[in-house]
């Protein structure tokens, strides 16, 4: 078992929203990793994505499509973001990540929307993290560089469409 693991946004989101699909799997997985003494890492990119996903007006019944002000409900999401550093370790994005990203994009021949996944990979490699906990099978293409740890879910639930 790796001593530190990067936690992807699609695991972080159900971990804090029990009504979402995969909550039980993600909760059990992260709890077990913590109890095993594994360091759980996230990045600024994951935090931003988490906040955007949690506030998307089509995700939860409680939210309305307000973009320019902070609704009361969103304040509760901010509270979660504030609490993240007490559970996760947060990597920064040093210049080395920016240097790594174009190399990886060229190496894996990646363009368009998978650039964001590749930036996660660059962040992990720069910080010597070789395992990611993710539900996103798009990371399979990086399996020569990192190990993908999936919370126990049925295969049919995984995203598999090519981009």
């Amino acid at each position: 078992m790796a001593d530190k693991i990067f936690v992807d946004t699609n695991v972080l989101l159900p971990f804090y929203f029990p009504e979402l699909e995969f909550f039980e799997e993600c909760d059990a997985c992260l709890r077990q990793l913590k109890q095993d003494g594994v360091e759980l890492w996230i990045s600024g990119q994951v935090i931003r994505e988490f906040y955007v996903r949690a506030n998307h007006p089509r995700t939860f019944e409680e939210l309305t499509a307000i973009e320019r002000t902070l609704p009361l409900e969103s304040e509760q999401v901010v509270r979660i973001v504030e609490a993240l550093p007490d559970f996760f370790r947060i990597v920064d994005q040093p210049h080395a990540v920016h240097q790594m990203l174009p190399r990886l994009l060229r190496e894996y021949q990646i363009g368009w929307k998978l650039t964001h996944d590749t930036n996660i990979l660059a962040t992990m490699l720069v910080h010597d993290i070789d395992t990611i906990c993710s539900l996103d099978s798009d990371f399979d293409r990086f399996s020569d560089r990192v190990t993908i740890l999936r919370p126990q879910v049925e295969d049919a639930r995984k995203g598999t469409d090519p981009v």
Partner: protein
Amino acid sequence: MVMPPVIQGVEPPTQFGEWLSGTARQITRPTLRPKKFSATEISAFEKYIGSVENMAELWEWFVDFVRRAGQDDDTALAFEHWTREFGLLAAFNELEQIGAARLADYAADLIEIADGWHRMADAGLIEPDLPPQLAERVAHLDALIRNLTEEITRQYDNDLIARLLMRVGKQRQLTLDEQFRLVDAVRLDWKVKEEPSVRRADWYGADGR
């Protein structure tokens, strides 16, 4: 309505907050010597805060004062002087009589006060340790919160626990149990309208799902 105490040389204002705002202005940074209040002034003040009917007003003002004290040196000095000179925290006993429903707000405010104190201590304005009375009140409130958990709403309960644990987390690393408790406290059991995709690539498309 009990009027604010009269401070010698200061016109009595109509609002208590105005009175102490004026007091704060008298204590200037260059001297670093807070104004000494006379026994008469202290007595008048204690009489004022002894009025239960004004407790809510006093409390709201006090919290606002502490918030500002974290950002303003003059107000911080006034706050330090105030707590030392008046033994104000004894008035907290009165506040608790307001009732359990109000207690949740009260406890949350007390946490903010402790936070304000630590911010001022970090800025080197005051001693780092909480005044004994305030520390006792925080500990007492912590116990009360546990006992009153069933009487306050779950949201209040979680909010208080989250704030307490995050404050502790700024001073030391939380234990594993505390980390799990914090996660439970901030979780949101919102009803799902539409399950988001697990693929990051889907989030950055035109639809953003």
